[in-house]
C-alpha cells in the first residue's frame, strides 16, 4: 500500500523539524516547507494526502494557502496550527474547509491523533 503523504508548512523551522521524524515513525511520507511560495510550487506538482499549515506567515498566509490547496486538491485534508488561536480564525478556517484546528503549542500526541483521523477520512473519501 502507498504511504500516506503529509506536507508541513510553517515559517518557524522548529515545527517541521520536530514533526517530520515523529510522523515518519508513524509511517508517513513527510515533506517540510518554511515558506508558502515553495510549498505552493510543490502543490502544483502533487497533491499531498494531508497538509499541516501555520496561519500567520510572510507572503501568502495560511488562510490563503488553505484556499489554494482546497481548490487544487479537494480530496486532501488540511490541519491548521496557529499561535494566534481565536474563535474567529478557527471558524474561518473550518468554513474554508480545514479538517482540524490546533492551537500552538501543542502536544505531539495531539497532532499525531489529528493526522491519523485525517488519514482515515481521506481514505474513506478515496474509497467512496
Amino acid at each position: 500500500m502507498e504511504k500516506t503523504t503529509v506536507c508541513i508548512l510553517d515559517d518557524e523551522a522548529i515545527v517541521g523539524d520536530r514533526l517530520k521524524p515523529e510522523l515518519e515513525d508513524d509511517g508517513y511520507d513527510v515533506e517540510v516547507f518554511t515558506d508558502s511560495a515553495s510549498a505552493l510550487a510543490r502543490v502544483n506538482e502533487t497533491c499531498f494526502d494531508i497538509f499541516i499549515t501555520d496561519l500567520k506567515m510572510e507572503g501568502i498566509d495560511g488562510m490563503g494557502f488553505l484556499e489554494r490547496v482546497k481548490e487544487k486538491c479537494p480530496d486532501s485534508e488540511v490541519i491548521v496550527i496557529t499561535g494566534y488561536a481565536t474563535m474567529e480564525t478557527a471558524r474561518e478556517s473550518l468554513i474554508k474547509g480545514a479538517y482540524d484546528f490546533i492551537a500552538k503549542p501543542f502536544r505531539i500526541g495531539e497532532i499525531r491523533a489529528a493526522v491519523k483521523k485525517a488519514k482515515k477520512k481521506a481514505r474513506r473519501r478515496h474509497q467512496a
Binding site: D10, E12, I14, V15, D17, R18, L19, P21, E24, D25, D26, G27, G83, K104, P105, F106, R107, I108, G109, I111
Partner: protein, 858 residues
C-alpha cells in the same frame, strides 16, 4: 463576607486618620486580592513554561516571547499594586524588574549574555548556552558535574574572550589572516603556513591581566599548593564535538607543572593552527570560519590506570557492545595509540560480560595484587591486566550514566587514581556513521512480541526511552540500594526520591503533575518520565524488567534493545533545538526561587534574581501591609474581622477577602468553624481541631507559669516586627494566610488550593521557641522530619523550618494541610519536652501514631 458597601466611608475615615497617603483598609483587601490573582497567573505561566521542557510539546519562539511578555506585565502590575498600598515603599522594585526584563529580552534576541568581561570560569560557574564561550569539551564536563556517581577533576576554562585578548594584545589577527590568505591562494604549502602561524603565536605574550587570572585560578584549584600539583591543559575548541569533528586535531598537554601553566596556554592556542587542523579546514571549506580556542585547565589526576571508553562500538553499533581501552599511567598511551594498551570488547547489558580482550605487551610489568582481575572474568587468558573486573564495571557504569544524560554514544576519557577513584576527564559524542533511520515497520517489529503492560496512562514529563529493572519506592527504604539504570516506580513523588533520579533509567508515578518537583528534577537529569498513571504501582512488580517508551507513552515487558538503540543513534534530540535551549535559559532567569525566608537580610528588592523572586517578594510585603494595618485583635474586629468560636485556647481572628466565610455570617463578631468556606482553611482547621492534635502532654511543674503564656501572643520584639500581633487568618475561597504568633514561636502557613494543580502551593514556616537554641533546633528537626516524610520540600536553618509543596492535586494538597493543622497543635510546646536527641524520634513516632493517615495519599 466583608462588605464594601456603606461601611466603607466610615471605615475609611476611621483608619486614615492623619495619614493622607495611607490606603483605606477596605481597599487593601481589594488590592491584595488583585496581587494574589496576578501571583497565581504568573505561577501558572511559569509552570506552563516548565512543562514544555519535557519534549512532549512542540512550541515556537512566538510562544516563548508571548509568555515572557505576559509575565512581565504581571510582574510589573503587581509591583505597582504593592507600591500603591505601601505608599511607594518599594520603588526600587521597578529597576530590578526592568533589569530582569532586559536580560530576558537579550536572550530572546538571540545574543549570548556574557557576564562582564570574565575570562576565566570555574567548571561549576558555567551555565546553559555557554558552549561557544568555553568550548564544547569544557561545556560537556560542566554539564555532568551534578551527576551522582560521576567525578570530574577540579577545572577551569579560559574563554574565547581570553583567546581574543591574546591575539589582540600581540596584533596577531591581521598577521594570521594574511598568512592564511597565502595558503588559500596555494602560494605556500599548508605545512609552511602552519609553522609560521604557530611560531607567531608561541612568540606572543599573554596580556598581564589574563596572566594574573590564569595563575590565580591554577592556584585556586591546587588549593594553595601549586608546587606539588600538576595540570592537564587541554584544547576546548569551539565546534569540537559539534557538527564538525576536530577531535584530536588540537593539542592537549598532560602533567604540566605550575611554572609551565602559561607557556602551555600558548602551546594549546598554537595548535589551533597546526597542519592537521588547517588541512581539515581546507578540506571542509571552512578556512575562513572564525577560529577561536578556549582552553581547559584540569587538576591532574595521578593516574594509576587511564584510558578511553567508547560506550558503543561505532563500527558495529547494532551489536550493543562497548570498547574499553586502558593502560597504566596518565593516558597518553591510549590516546596516542602507543603500545601497552589493553582493549576490551564488553557487552553493554549488566552484568557486563567481557567478550574479547587484547593485551599487548606492556612496557611495565607490575604483578597484580588483586585476585579478581579482569582476565579472570573473561576466562583467565592473560597474565597481567591493567584493570580489575571491579574497575571495568565502574567505568562501564559511569559510561552508561553519561550516555543516559547525553542520549548519544560517547567517547569518554577516564582515569583511575591510586586510591581507586574513577575520574572522568572528558566526554564527547561519537560520530557513529549516519545510518538509515529505523523505518516505521522496523520500529513496530522491534516491539512485537513484547507484552504491553500499559499504555496512554498519565502525562509525559520527559520524552525518551529507558529500560531496566522496576524498583518500587516505599517508605523507609535505603535509597542507596537503588539499582543504576533502574526504573523508579512510585505512588506519589516525595522530594526524598530526588536523590535517586540521576541514577534512574526511567520514572513512572501513580500521582503527580508534569509541573511538580519530581518532574522538574527528572527533566534536569533527562530521565524519561511519566507521571499520574494511576496504575503503575499496581501493574508493575519489583525487579521486573521493563522498557519505558515515553515518546509513545507505552510500558513494555522486557528490555527492547532495538528501541534503546534507536533512541541512542537516530532519535532526534529535541534538546538540541534552539527553541528548547532558549526556553531553558529563559526559565533559569524566571523560575528559581531564592527568596524563601522573609526574615533573611537578603529579602529585599535587590535580592530578587528571578521573576519568581519578585512575585514572592510582592506577595509577602503586600500581606504584611495587610496584617500590620491592625494593632490588636480589636482593631481587626472593628474592621470586619471575625473571631472564631472554638474549644481550643486559641484567639483566632479571621479576615475574609472574598469567599472565605459563608454568606450567612451575621454582623456579630463571632463565626463558627463550619462557616469557614475557604477550602485550604477548612483543611487546616480540621487538622488543628481534631482530637489529640492539640497537645495536652503534662508539662513539668516548674515550667507551668511559663506555659500559661503560651497560647497568648508574643510581642513583636521577640519575633521581628513583621509578625502580626494577633493570631490571624486571611481567607479567600481558595486561599489562606495563617499567622500564629503562639507563645515564643511563630507559625505561618500560606496556601492556595484549587482544581488546577499549577496554582496549588503550600508554604509553611516555623521559627522560635521558649527554650535554648538546642531544644528549639530539636523541634525544628522534628517538624522537618515529619514534613519531609509527608512529601514537603524542606529548608532548615537553626530553629527555622520552611516547608513547601507545589502543584499537587487538590485532594493531595488538602491532605497536606490537614497534616499541617495536626502538626501545629502537636508541636506547639514540644521544644520544652525535647530534652535530648532521642526524644525527637519518640515524638516523631508519636505523631504518626496519632495521625491516622500518616502519609498524604488520596
Amino acid at each position: 463576607m466583608f462588605s464594601f458597601g456603606t461601611a466603607r466611608a466610615a471605615l475609611k475615615s476611621l483608619f486614615t486618620r492623619g495619614k493622607e497617603n495611607q490606603v483605606p483598609f477596605s481597599d487593601l483587601f481589594v488590592w491584595f486580592q488583585d496581587i494574589l490573582k496576578k501571583n497565581n497567573a504568573a505561577m501558572e505561566l511559569i509552570a506552563d513554561m516548565g512543562g514544555k521542557m519535557g519534549g512532549e510539546f512542540i512550541f515556537d519562539k512566538k510562544y516563548l516571547s508571548d509568555s515572557v511578555k505576559q509575565l512581565e506585565e504581571l510582574v510589573r502590575g503587581s509591583a505597582y499594586d504593592l507600591n500603591y498600598i505601601t505608599d511607594n515603599q518599594y520603588l526600587e522594585l521597578y529597576g530590578v524588574i526592568e533589569e530582569l526584563a532586559k536580560n530576558l529580552g537579550i536572550e530572546l534576541s538571540g545574543k549570548l549574555v556574557i557576564h562582564g568581561a570574565k575570562r576565566i570560569y570555574d567548571l561549576s560557574e558555567i551555565e546553559d548556552g555557554m558552549e561557544d564561550l568555553v568550548g564544547y569539551k569544557t561545556y560537556n564536563l560542566s554539564r555532568i558535574l551534578h551527576l551522582s556517581g560521576v567525578h570530574v577533576p577540579e577545572s577551569f576554562a579560559v574563554t574565547v574572550g581570553g583567546f581574543r585578548d591574546y591575539m589582540a594584545y600581540n596584533n596577531l589577527f591581521e598577521k594570521i589572516e594574511n598568512t592564511i590568505e597565502e595558503c588559500r591562494n596555494e602560494r605556500r604549502s599548508v605545512e609552511s603556513v602552519s609553522n609560521s602561524i604557530r611560531l607567531m603565536i608561541l612568540g606572543g605574550e599573554i596580556p598581564p591581566e589574563l596572566r594574573r587570572q590564569i595563575l590565580a585560578a591554577a592556584e585556586r584549584i591546587s588549593h594553595g599548593t601549586p608546587g606539588s600539583c600538576s595540570f592537564a591543559v587541554r584544547s576546548s575548541g569551539v565546534g569540537e564535538d559539534g557538527d564538525l569533528s576536530f577531535a584530536g586535531l588540537h593539542d592537549s598537554f598532560l602533567d604540566v607543572p605550575f611554572n609551565e601553566v602559561l607557556s602551555n596556554y600558548k602551546k594549546v592556542l598554537a595548535s589551533l593552527y597546526n597542519q592537521a587542523s588547517l588541512e581539515y579546514r581546507l578540506r571542509m571549506n571552512i578556512l575562513s570560519l572564525e577560529m577561536a580556542m578556549p582552553v581547559l585547565y584540569q587538576k591532574m589526576i595521578p593516574g594509576h590506570v587511564s584510558g578511553v571508553l567508547f560506550t558503543l562500538d561505532p563500527n558495529r553499533p547494532e551489536r550493543s557492545e562497548s570498547l574499553l581501552s586502558g593502560s597504566r599511567g596518565l593516558g597518553e598511551v591510549v590516546v596516542e595509540g602507543k603500545e601497552g594498551v589493553e582493549t576490551f570488547r564488553i557487552s553493554r547489558s549488566t552484568p557486563y560480560t567481557i567478550l574479547e580482550q587484547q593485551v599487548q605487551a606492556t612496557p611495565h610489568v607490575p604483578v597484580p595484587s588483586e585476585k579478581d582481575l579482569a582476565q579472570e572474568a573473561a576466562g583467565g587468558s592473560n597474565a597481567e591486566s591493567c584493570l580489575t573486573w571491579k574497575e571495568v564495571s565502574a567505568i562501564m557504569d559511569a559510561g552508561q550514566i553519561l550516555e543516559r544524560y547525553f542520549k548519544r554514544p560517547l567517547d569518554v576519557e577516564w582515569s583511575i587514581d591510586e586510591g581507586g577513584q574513577l575520574w572522568i576527564l572528558q566526554a564527547r559524542q561519537i560520530h557513529v556513521p549516519r545510518q538509515r533511520r529505523m523505518q516505521h515497520t522496523e520500529l513496530k517489529g522491534a516491539t512485537k512480541g513484547h507484552r504491553v503492560l500499559f499504555k496512554d496512562q498519565g502525562m509525559i514529563a520527559y520524552r525518551g526511552i529507558g529500560a531496566g529493572p522496576v524498583w518500587i519506592a516505599e517508605d523507609g527504604q535505603d535509597l542507596n540500594n537503588f539499582p543504576r539504570g533502574g526504573v523508579l516506580v512510585s505512588h506519589y513523588a516525595p522530594p526524598r526520591l530526588a536523590k535517586v533520579i540521576p541514577r534512574a533509567g526511567a520514572i513512572i508515578t501513580d500521582l503527580g503533575a508534569v509541573t511538580g518537583h519530581m518532574a522538574t528534577v527528572a527533566r534536569e537529569f533527562r530521565v524519561p518520565t511519566i507521571v499520574g498513571t494511576d496504575v503503575a504501582t499496581q501493574l508493575l512488580a519489583a525487579g521486573q524488567e521493563v522498557t519505558v517508551d515515553t515518546e509513545r507513552n507505552v510500558v513494555y515487558e522486557g528490555l527492547i534493545q532495538e528501541l534503546i538503540r534507536h533512541q541512542l543513534l537516530d532519535a532526534p534530540s529535541f534538546e538540541m533545538t534552539r527553541e528548547f535551549q532558549l526556553l531553558r535559559r529563559l526559565l533559569k532567569k524566571i523560575a528559581p526561587l531564592s527568596l524563601t525566608d522573609p526574615d533573611d537580610p537578603g529579602f529585599v528588592p535587590k535580592g530578587c534574581q528571578t521573576f519568581h523572586d519578585v512575585m514572592r517578594f510582592v506577595h509577602e510585603k503586600a500581606f504584611r501591609a495587610l496584617v500590620q494595618a491592625g494593632k490588636d485583635s480589636r482593631s481587626f474586629l472593628r474592621r470586619g474581622g471575625k473571631r472564631l468560636k472554638s474549644h481550643l485556647p486559641l484567639d483566632l481572628v479571621l479576615i475574609d477577602i472574598g469567599g472565605g466565610l459563608a454568606e450567612d455570617v451575621d454582623k456579630g463578631i463571632y463565626v463558627d468553624p463550619d462557616q469557614i468556606t475557604s477550602i485550604p482553611m477548612k483543611a487546616i482547621w480540621q487538622g488543628l481541631s481534631s482530637p489529640d492534635s492539640w497537645n495536652t502532654e503534662p508539662i513539668p511543674v516548674d515550667l507551668k507559669g511559663l506555659m500559661s503564656s503560651l497560647t497568648r501572643t508574643q510581642s513583636a520584639e521577640v519575633l521581628g516586627n513583621a509578625v502580626p500581633s494577633v493570631n490571624l487568618a486571611v481567607l479567600g475561597s481558595n486561599y489562606v494566610n495563617l499567622s500564629l504568633p503562639l507563645g515564643y514561636h511563630f507559625t505561618a502557613v500560606d496556601a492556595a488550593i484549587g482544581s488546577s494543580p499549577e496554582n496549588n502551593t503550600i508554604s509553611f514556616r516555623f521559627v522560635g521557641g521558649v527554650t535554648d537554641i538546642t531544644r528549639r533546633s530539636r523541634r525544628a528537626i522534628l517538624l522537618a522530619t515529619i514534613l519531609e516524610k509527608a512529601g514537603f520540600k524542606i529548608k532548615m536553618n537553626g530553629d527555622l523550618v520552611i516547608a513547601r509543596a507545589i502543584n499537587l492535586s487538590e485532594a493531595l494538597m488538602m491532605d497536606q494541610l490537614l497534616l499541617i493543622g495536626k502538626l501545629i497543635g502537636f508541636a506547639r510546646q514540644l521544644d520544652v519536652l525535647l530534652k535530648n536527641d532521642e526524644d525527637v524520634d519518640y515524638y516523631v513516632q508519636k505523631f504518626w501514631d496519632q495521625a491516622e493517615k500518616p502519609v498524604a495519599r488520596s
